[in-house]
């Protein structure tokens, strides 16, 4: 130790010299590439060297700049100040060289705080980069922008975060989640806005984002537990696929969440019988049947436990620990032990990991010995362990000791006592003391062992033994007078003050048991009083007083002598004590009332100290936390709440299933209803429910296919198979619902009406295969589910329960109120219903109808009351291109060829879908059978499949329509086109212009909206056109053929305006083309920067190639 400190001193001395040497090394290391000039700086001062760096940075040569930046990063890494280079460095922020740029970023983040004004120069670069088509560049721009801790740019950061949180790339969204925390620490006032973003990102389906956004949640608003409700099941289900760091954060958050939402599983009368899947669902029902029944676990609670269990096998120790603490805090007692093995496994890991894991095991082993007892041998100490590991292992061994294994443990401990590591040996003796008190059978053995240790050569061992013996004797002094005698004999050899003091105290306390020896010890002490340590002196005074009271004959003079010595001691504590004792015990005329009680005061029976684990009270902290490790409240520690006595409403976690309209079956009922009225469910519908639940469960695996999965597939079959039964059960359901829970239904309805916006958002996420018509209808009909159910069961409607009359009436009323298009829609819908019910085997075949229906729907959409749509009235497309694209060539398709074109109509299958028309032709000799799109979707998009074509005769062709949710991205949708024999993988790549829907608005509205979308949301380009070619018609034509936009009437001759919205998210896209001879300025305003830049590119080519 001495050597080491000496070393470090000498290093510090060299510090100043070293910097010079370092600089030299650095130059020779890094700039060996050729810049010979740098070598001269070897002898120059620091500032000189920076001059030279500045020159290099201002040089036009990229390589020199890079060289300079590398050296600057070297300086930063060493902690040297390089801030005066800021102006020179910041100039390079827009460099094309990506490595140079990255190094500049590193520099910028480090020094921006110190050079705020100069840092602002770089902001515009990042704003530009935020719109870069490369997601890596967008993300890194956001990272740096949000890392620049300059308060002035808070609004810009806020805007950028909002923007990026809706980015198409999950990587960018992840970065946005990180940026939230940065902004929050820079400006806590933004909290409310940030919570909005967090709320949005929590809904994100990407596993990449989940961990980061939960981290942001924990940092910004850990108390807003209400934001988690709706995402709880999703988080549980996707947990396995989240990256490991995210898992840790999510598990910790869910632990806290679960403690507030579920009732304790630790009740005495708890019944545990849900080990299999089946009871998982049954239990829910049971509870409703009988509320007062003994404890049954909430299925959501079980879901969490079940989904975290596989993570015990993670290679990441933090994940294993997180799951272990989750089980510890949430699982029923008998299930906790499954974490044991994994925790023991972690002990094979690095020293630091062992340390933390052992701490946690120590806490666990106090409460539950049984958990770790079989693994006792894993806690045997090895001589190579670090001291703190050894002590922890010993702690655990002591905790595990019981009557059965104590002999093994004591034998093991014996070898530890001899350890060369004296601190550890001392801890071992303490442990023996604890074993002795805990297990009465071995108390004597332990005491004898400890007494033997008194003759040990090592002082610390002896001292520790004395202290422990003292504590032990206090528990049963009478039987151990010979031990006290033994200790008195050893007294002369013991030099450690604490041990001497302990022996003296024992003498005094039990002087009655050793009446002959005690006065003799006092005699010896009187001789050496002046040379003793303070604590020993105090105990001598104590001993003297006690002996005086019990045996004044022999010790009176000795006591007087000692009190006199004490009176003039240097230490005022001892003088104080002496004075007090004298007044107390020596009777004189001045002594007060107390001296009468002196004996009772001094010789009062004293409670024995309790020897217990240092980890006894650690369980007040959540396991696995920093606070637990330190055994004190760390900053930001969130207390784990106690279980609620009554479970809060569990329906808050129900996620509304966005039901496809054609699917009129049980899932359409939505979860919110199921939770209320399922006593009367028929077994059939229960099954469906399960399916639905499962579907939701698997969402993380194949989010696209789950809900968009063709209803015509499974459900229509079911329908035809036992349509009677299901439909009747449905009407039953709706009736029972209207019976018992009419209020709730109405509330639901209200909710649905109030929240179309939120629904829209959900749709944006692309999971829901929602239907266009639904949003149109839901405003003026009963909640869509009940309507669709009655519609599907149209035949059974007649004989359905009369209870549902009210419902029906209201509906028919609303139907009559509806205007003509609606009835048309109903007709149209019947067609689709028919083919759903297998009445007509051939799907919508004529292109005409498939175009017709959406346009009707788009009319309908105008009627919609949803506030999101009210501002943006959709209009019919100005121009529908006739060009079709090849999907499958007949050669590759073995005779089957397919072509697709964009109909530019709102899709009937879902708000967020792009409508496509598919023409399939059979060019082969044989008829093709069962043409369909396979259920599996290889890419992330949500695809509404056309219903299978039973048979396609040779040379025949058929046109079907389908919908694809491209999620506002030009990423191709891949899917499998299948025939009976073959499977062809095909893809549809949409042009960016097809991702839009035209809308109409007034010119004033247009300029107003445009005014809102400036700054980062505006992208412009200038093109040169031949002036004679430009006429307003050609511009209009070219723009609308390139993109599906609506033309806005304009009263300015030379400005053309177009408006549209993106299909998936409904973001406004505004385009204006200003003709200024000979240039044309194209401006695109939209929140979707990616789309903007792509559109711009397309318009550029479209307008430069203008033909008159």
């Amino acid at each position: 130790m001495l050597g080491m400190s000496a070393n470090s001193v000498s290093y510090n001395d060299q510090g100043s010299v070293e910097s010079g040497v370092d600089a030299a090394q650095e130059n020779s290391n890094i700039s060996s590439g050729g810049s010979g000039g740098a070598a001269f700086s070897l002898f120059s001062a620091d500032c000189k060297k920076n001059e030279d760096l500045k020159e290099m940075l201002e040089n036009s040569k990229e390589s020199l700049k890079l060289e300079a930046m590398k050296r600057i990063v070297g300086l930063i890494a060493k902690g040297k100040n390089a801030s005066e280079l800021f102006p020179a460095v910041v100039k390079n922020v827009a460099s094309k060289n990506i490595e140079l740029k990255k190094l500049v970023y590193v520099y910028l983040v480090r020094y921006a705080e110190e050079q705020q004004d100069l840092a602002l120069l770089s902001i515009s670069t990042f704003q530009r980069a935020l719109k870069d088509p490369n997601q890596l560049i967008r993300a890194s721009a956001l990272r740096v922008l949000s890392s620049i801790r300059v308060p002035i740019i808070v609004p810009i950061m806020m805007l950028a975060i909002k923007e990026s949180s809706t980015d198409l790339s999950p990587y960018v969204r992840k970065t946005a989640a990180h940026a939230i925390q940065k902004l929050y620490s820079l400006d806590p006032d933004q909290k409310e806005h940030l919570i909005e973003v967090i709320e949005k990102l929590l809904k994100d389906k990407s596993t990449l984002v989940a961990g980061s956004v939960v981290m942001a949640f924990e940092e910004v608003c850990p108390d807003r537990i209400d934001l988690i409700h709706k995402n709880y099941r999703k988080l549980c289900n996707m947990l396995v696929d989240v990256e490991e760091w995210g898992q840790v954060v999510i598990i910790h958050m869910l632990t806290r969440y679960a403690r507030t939402q579920f009732v304790s599983p630790w009740r005495e009368d708890a019944v545990f019988d849900e080990n299999n899947e089946k009871t998982f669902y049954d239990s829910e029902e049971e509870r409703r049947v009988d509320e007062s029944k003994p404890y049954i676990m909430d299925p959501d609670h079980r879901l969490l436990l079940r989904n975290t269990k596989p993570l015990l096998q993670s290679r990441n120790t933090a994940v294993v620990m997180a799951v272990s603490q989750l089980y510890w805090h949430l699982a029923p007692k008998h299930e906790i032990s499954i974490v044991t093995k994994s925790l023991v496994r972690l002990l094979r890991s690095h020293r630091e990991v062992q340390y933390v894991v052992l701490q946690n095991i120590a806490t666990m082993s106090i409460q539950r010995k049984g958990m770790f007892e079989p693994f006792m041998k894993s806690f045997y100490v090895r001589s190579t362990d670090a001291t703190h590991i050894k002590t922890l292992k010993l702690e655990i061994l002591t905790n595990l000791a019981n009557e059965a294994n104590i002999s093994t443990i004591l034998r093991e401990i014996q070898t530890y006592v001899k350890s060369q590591d004296k601190a550890f040996a001392a801890a071992t003796i303490q442990a023996i003391g604890r074993c002795a008190t805990d297990i009465s059978e071995v108390t004597d053995t332990c005491l004898n062992g400890l007494v033997l240790l008194l003759s040990n050569r090592d002082e610390t061992v002896v001292a520790e033994s004395v202290v422990v013996i003292k504590k032990l004797l206090q528990t049963q002094p009478s039987q151990h007078s010979d031990i006290i005698k033994h200790m008195a004999k050893l007294f002369d050899n013991i030099t450690v003050p604490m041990a001497r003091a302990s022996i003296l105290w024992l003498m005094g306390e039990y002087c009655e048991h050793v009446p002959k020896i005690a006065p003799d010890v006092l005699r010896k002490m009187a001789k050496t009083f002046t040379s003793e340590e303070d604590i020993v002196k105090l105990q001598i005074v104590n001993l003297a007083a006690k002996l005086y009271l019990t045996n004044s004959k022999q010790t009176k003079l000795l006591t007087q002598y000692i009190l006199n010595l004490g009176k003039y001691d240097q230490n005022y504590d001892i003088r104080d004590r002496t004075r007090f004792i004298r007044q107390l015990i020596v009777p004189n005329e001045k002594s007060g009332a107390l001296s009468k009680y002196a004996r009772r005061i001094l010789m009062a029976p004293k409670p024995a100290p309790v020897l217990q684990s240092a980890f006894k009270d650690r369980d007040r902290f959540q396991l696995g936390t920093l606070s637990h490790s330190l055994n004190s409240h760390a900053t930001g520690y969130l207390e784990l709440s106690n279980w609620p006595s009554v479970a809060p409403d569990q329906s808050v976690r129900n996620v509304e299933v966005v039901e496809p309209v054609k699917e009129a079956l049980a899932p359409a009922l939505g979860k919110s209803k199921r939770a209320k009225s399922d006593e009367k469910f028929y077994s059939g519908s229960e099954e469906e429910e399960e399916e639905e639940e499962e579907e939701e469960g698997s969402s993380s695996e194949d989010s696209s296919s789950s809900s968009g999965e063709s209803e015509s597939g499974s459900n229509s079959e079911e329908n035809s198979d036992d349509s009677n039964k299901s439909s009747s059960s449905q009407s039953e359901k709706s009736s029972s619902e209207s019976d018992t829970d009419k209020k709730k239904t109405q509330k639901n309805k209200k909710l649905q009406q109030q929240k179309p916006a939120s629904k829209d958002r959900k749709l944006k996420n692309g999971k829901a295969a929602n239907d266009e018509s639904r949003s149109g209808r839901e405003s003026d009909t009963e909640s869509s589910s009940s309507e669709s159910s009655s519609e599907s069961g149209s035949e059974s409607e007649l004989d359905s329960n009369s209870d549902s009359g009210t419902d029906q009436k209201r509906k028919t009323k609303s139907k009559t109120v509806q205007s003509k298009p609606v009835t048309k829609l109903a007709e149209k819908k019947e067609v689709s219903l028919l083919d759903l019910d297998d009445f007509s085997p051939v799907p919508v075949t004529t292109p005409k109808s498939s175009i017709l229906s959406p346009s009707l729907l788009s009319d309908l959409q105008g009627l919609s009351l949803s506030p999101g749509a009210s501002a943006l009235q959709a209009s019919s497309p100005v121009f529908v291109p006739e060009t079709s694209h090849e999907l499958l060539h007949r050669m590759t398709g073995k005779g089957l060829s397919a072509q697709y074109r964009f109909t530019r109509q709102p899709c009937i299958y879902g708000n967020s879908m792009v409508s496509l028309q598919l023409t399939l032709s059979n060019n082969s000799e044989q008829a093709l059978e069962n043409i369909h799109i396979s259920e599996k979707s290889s890419s992330g998009q949500n695809i509404h499949r056309f219903s299978a074509i039973e048979r396609l005769e040779p040379q025949a062709s058929v046109t079907v329509s389908m919908g694809v949710d491209f999620n506002d991205s030009t990423q191709a949708a891949h899917f499998q086109l299948c025939t009976k024999e073959d499977e062809f993988s095909v893809s549809i790549q949409p042009a960016v212009g097809e991702l839009l829907l035209p809308i109409t608005m007034s010119e004033a509205d247009f300029t107003k909206e445009q005014g809102k979308l400036v700054g980062m949301n505006e992208s412009t380009a200038t093109i040169t056109t031949t002036p004679e070619n430009i006429s307003s018609q050609s511009v209009n034509r070219n723009v609308v053929s390139a993109a599906n936009l609506g033309v806005i009437p304009s009263n300015q001759e030379n400005i053309h305006r177009f408006a549209g919205k993106t299909v998936s998210s409904g973001s406004l896209v505004l385009v204006s083309v200003a003709l200024k001879d000979p240039d044309a300025l194209i401006t695109v305003n939209t929140e979707k920067t990616v789309i903007a830049s792509m559109l711009l590119r397309q318009f550029k080519t479209a307008l430069t190639n203008i033909t008159p």
Partner: protein, 418 residues
């Protein structure tokens, strides 16, 4: 989460610092230095150190302390695990993780740290992804870069980052497609004075080196999977498949990785491959002590025990050792009192021994405890638990890969108390 990182070398100098949030003055490390001074051994520094405003979490590897500065509550294992991951990455990139290597590659180190953490939260820790973002420095690449002016930094987001198999990069191509698996088992044991086993257990790992083109999907099955009591997997392994069929099914990362670590169930008796005869004694009042060690093979299943290395921490009172090795060489460090004996291969016909005397400090009393003997050894082509790989199959790609499986048994923490 992680605020800053300081790298401290063995002599207590900070030689690198990196901040992810506002700059934390390096004076915060003074608390760490205090703890370092208090600790008798470098390993004894507590991993978590509280200071008035921060918490310091450190790991010690390759004689370098990685000290992370934390400002608020965070699971300590989270930080520890991450720091170890950083060290692994450095080792992967530079071959060794030493102060010199880090100083030489300070720019790459900085770029790596920048990618690995964003705002203190891990961003990309998967080595396959990192290697696409920042190419490891090689001599060839350095030369090429200086000539062409290209950089080590990738311009595209690695596809793995977004895919469902983030551990594997796309577009992998090899001319020779090979997959090697090493089953390495370690025996942890404590043997008491009389030679009986106090505790012994087997921990094993399956390390893989997979160089296969495209996106292969591999399955690996064992003859006797029941042996495996507790396992932990690389994230690529499909857990459900293991649960159901006890088959390892996975799309492997490219290059070297640890597929599986396991623990052999404690019911099985562990074969102890070596035995030690020892006679170490110190007499009271004499400054000489006797020291005799003999090694011999025990249950080795007919395989040779190789690379045997015996080390022992002798008591502090020992001045010097005067020994005679029948085989191999021995060294004794009078400062640390560490005796180590490099034995090599054990020849069953002629057992290696180390005999002689040790001299004690004059006047020092007889040490209480005899030293513990640590033994390291290797046995090739043997998995001591009897675990055997049944077969390895590949799906998803057309070519036929070359497959290889190697077994090895090593001593883990193998201690003999004397």
């Amino acid at each position: 989460m992680i605020h800053s990182l300081f790298l401290v070398n063995a002599s207590g100098d900070i030689f690198l610092e990196k901040h992810w949030k506002s700059v934390v003055s390096r004076s915060v490390c003074d608390y760490f230095f205090e703890a370092l001074e208090r600790a008798t051994e470098p390993e004894n520094v507590p991993p978590v150190i509280p200071t008035p405003h921060h918490y310091l979490i450190n790991v010690l590897r390759h004689r370098i302390y990685f000290v992370a500065v934390i400002q608020s509550e965070v699971p300590p294992l989270f930080v520890i695990e991450f720091l170890h991951r950083v060290v692994d990455t450095f080792q992967d990139y530079f071959g060794v993780c030493t102060e010199a290597a880090i100083k030489d590659n300070v720019v790459v180190v900085y770029e790596l740290l920048e990618e690995m953490l964003d705002n203190g939260f891990p961003l990309a820790t998967e080595s396959n992804i990192l290697k696409e973002l920042i190419k490891p420095p090689t001599i060839l690449r350095t030369v090429v870069n200086t000539i062409t002016g290209s950089t080590n930094v990738g311009e595209q987001l690695p596809t793995g980052q977004l895919s469902v198999v983030p551990w594997r990069r796309t577009g992998v191509k090899y001319t020779n497609n090979e997959a090697y698996f090493d089953v390495v088992e370690e025996i942890d044991a404590i043997i008491d004075k009389s030679g009986s086993t106090i505790t012994a257990e087997i921990q094993g790992v399956v390390d893989a080196c997979v160089k296969l083109t495209g996106m292969p999907d591999l399955t690996l099955s064992f003859m006797n999977p029941r042996l495996l009591d507790d396992v932990s997997f690389h994230p690529c392994v499909r857990f459900k498949r293991w649960e159901a069929e006890r088959i390892l099914s996975f799309i492997p990362p490219d290059g070297n990785f640890r597929l599986l670590s396991y623990h052999v169930s404690s019911q099985n008796l562990v074969a102890i491959p070596v035995y030690v005869k020892h006679n170490i004694s110190f007499r009271e009042g004499s400054s000489q002590g006797r020291f005799e060690l003999t090694l011999g093979p025990k249950q080795t299943m007919g395989k040779a025990v190789e690379s045997v290395l015996v080390s022992s921490q002798l008591p502090r009172g020992v001045l010097n050792a005067n020994l005679n090795a029948s085989q191999g060489t021995y060294t004794f460090d009078p400062v640390t009192k560490l005796l180590s004996w490099d034995v090599g291969k054990i020849n069953p016909q002629k057992l290696p021994s180390l005999k002689g005397s040790v001299s004690l400090q004059t006047g020092a009393s007889k040490p209480d405890e005899n030293p513990t003997i640590n033994i390291q050894f290797k046995i090739q082509q043997l998995a001591i638990s009897g675990l055997k790989v049944n077969r390895l199959d590949m799906y998803g790609e057309k070519y036929k890969p070359f497959k290889g499986i190697k077994y090895m048994t090593k001593a883990g923490k193998f201690q003999v108390r004397t």
